[in-house]
Each structure stands twice: as C-alpha cells, then as structure tokens.
C-alpha cells in the first residue's frame, strides 16, 4: 500500500491495521518520521509531490524491496502539504517471515525516500524559507544498498 495524504495521520492505527489478519508473517518492522522544530528555526515544513509520478516511483522501489528481501507486504504513507513540528511525515512498515528481512527492508525504503523519492521539502521559520536537499549522509546511506 502506498498513499500520499495532506491530512495528519495516526501511525499507531496504521501499524495496527498493517499487522491485522497475518497468520504467516513472523515479523513486522516499522518506521515513523516526525517533523522537527529545530529549536524554533522551523515553524512549518511543506512537502510537494508530483501526483502519479511520485506514487509510481515509490512503487518501483518498493517492488525492488519485495524481491530483494522476500517481503510479504509493505506500507508507505507520506504526508504532502504543510506539516507542523511533531506531526508524522512518513510511515513505513514491512512484513516478512523473519525479522532481519523486515528490519533491512524498512531501512532500505527509508534511505530511498530520503534522497531519491520525488518529494521537495521547504522549511519556513523566523529566518525565512529554504529548500532542503539531501545531505552527504543521506547519499552515503543509500550507497550502502548499491553494492
């Protein structure tokens, strides 16, 4: 399941839904990304997507994760629009027979989302607005999967 939403979501409810009615999945791993206030420097985060293209690109990499880690299932929910500090930006869950695959697939999907998924992120605070681009650490993180 892949969803973009401009509404705040409850990651706990998403995780409960994701775990429901699974009798062969031994492991579910999940990740929740939250908007940081940066000690007052970031009042609002605004996320832009390219509707259709963004979901398609996420699906392409999620199918790669399914093959690579033999996933039973995955979920990616991503906010778009204006996001206040403390709100969830992204929810990723992965289901597999055993825990290692679920953990690794979740890590893989998040590294991809940080620097390769079609989103554009603008932070606005007292000092003005700035577009956030991937940091060297984000590039190093995704490079771990490209060997």
């Amino acid at each position: 399941m892949i969803a973009l939403t401009d509404q705040a979501f409850d990651p706990g409810a998403l995780l409960s839904d994701f775990c429901r009615d699974r009798t062969e999945t031994g492991a579910v791993a999940s990740f929740v990304g939250l908007a940081r206030a940066e000690l007052g420097a970031a009042a609002v985060l605004e996320l832009e997507a390219y509707p259709g293209f963004t979901e398609g690109e996420i699906n392409r990499i999620a199918q790669e994760a399914v093959d690579r880690f033999s996933l039973d299932d995955f979920a990616v929910v991503h906010r778009v629009g204006k996001i206040a500090p403390g709100e969830s930006i992204v929810f990723v869950a992965t289901a597999a027979t055993h825990r290692r695959a679920a953990f690794e697939a979740c890590d893989f999907l998040m590294d991809y989302l940080k620097s390769r998924a079609p989103f554009w992120k603008k932070e606005t605070g007292p000092a003005g607005a700035r577009w956030i681009e991937p940091k060297p650490q984000d590039h190093a993180d995704i490079a771990r999967w490209e060997t």
Partner: protein, 79 residues
Amino acid sequence: MARVLLFGRLSDVAGWRAREVESPSVHALRDLLGAEDARLGEALAAPGVQIALDQAIVRGDAALSLRSEVAFLPPMSGG
C-alpha cells in the same frame, strides 16, 4: 502545446508552476525557458536537475508531441 511543470525551488525561481509551451523537443524547451528567464535557465541547468517526459525520467533529448507533459525535477528529498 506541451504542458510544463516546475517543482521545488524551480517554481520559486520562475514564479509559476505550470504552463503550456510550444516546443519540438525537451532540450529546445529548456533553451526557450532559459532565453525568456535567465535565472530560471541557470536553475534548470544546475547539477541534479532531472527531466521527466510523460512521467518517465529522460536522459538526453527527446521529441515532444502536442500532449506531452514535461516536468523539471530539482534534487529530491522526502522522509
């Protein structure tokens, strides 16, 4: 007329997000936009800017049809 979409910092630089533009190819379109607005031209040529034609990334030039959708995509960052 091709439909042109700008994302992220590119729409801030240009002051628009979507426009219809007549152009025979992706590169001709980029040159045309740069000739109209030098700051946008510079931003489109910056490292890491990718181009999607009908929602698929293209590398190099490609011909445009009447209903093509061309999106200019600056470096991406989600999560």
